[in-house]
Amino acid sequence: MARVLLFGPLRDLAGWRERQIPSASLAELRSFLAAEDADLGAALAGPGVKAAVDQAIVLGDAPLAPASEVAFLPPMSGG
């Protein structure tokens, strides 16, 4: 289980901001989301979209603990 957060345009695209999704790894979570919503899956793999696990940016795959927080961060706007 992971707490999944979407920000900025990803939230508008998916139509949700936060969900609990059972997943053992970041790759498994990406597959789950892409199978459910192909547009979101493509956007999550898009240029400039970063993933953070427990508030640290992760490149590639990472294992997820039951209480992990995963955030998908589209290109940042700045302040």
Binding site: F7, P9, A52, Q55, S77, G78
Partner: protein
Amino acid sequence: MIRLTEAPFDPGALLSAFASDRRETGAVATFTGIARAEDGATAILELEAYPGFTEAEIGKIADQARDRFGLQDLQIVHRVGKIQPGEPIVFVATAASHRRAAFEACDFLMDYLKSRAPFWKKEHGPDGARWIEPTAQDHADRERWASERT
């Protein structure tokens, strides 16, 4: 100190508090950014942050500024949520022994905040809403600090 707030803030009050009780600070510089109306094109600006992560990332920029300019102190206050044109959106204050460091640190912090800080910005106008990304000018402004080591 770094603070995100959904409520409007008064830059004058922030400056008064920041500048008080200082005996070894020769210079305080501040910058206040204000949301523009863009001639009616922007009715509301909406800023989203990732609570915790956004403050931590801004904290890294602040640490760089402290080291690079030898600051005594700094403060960053940034609005999140819905912001009306004319309302202050960001306040940066820097304190140093001398003016040059205070001025330059303020400029440096704003260039990083405008291009690198984890915010997602949406403009709501008469023609609908759109998400904003940093401009080429914002990136060029930040790059100045890579070439111009002080």
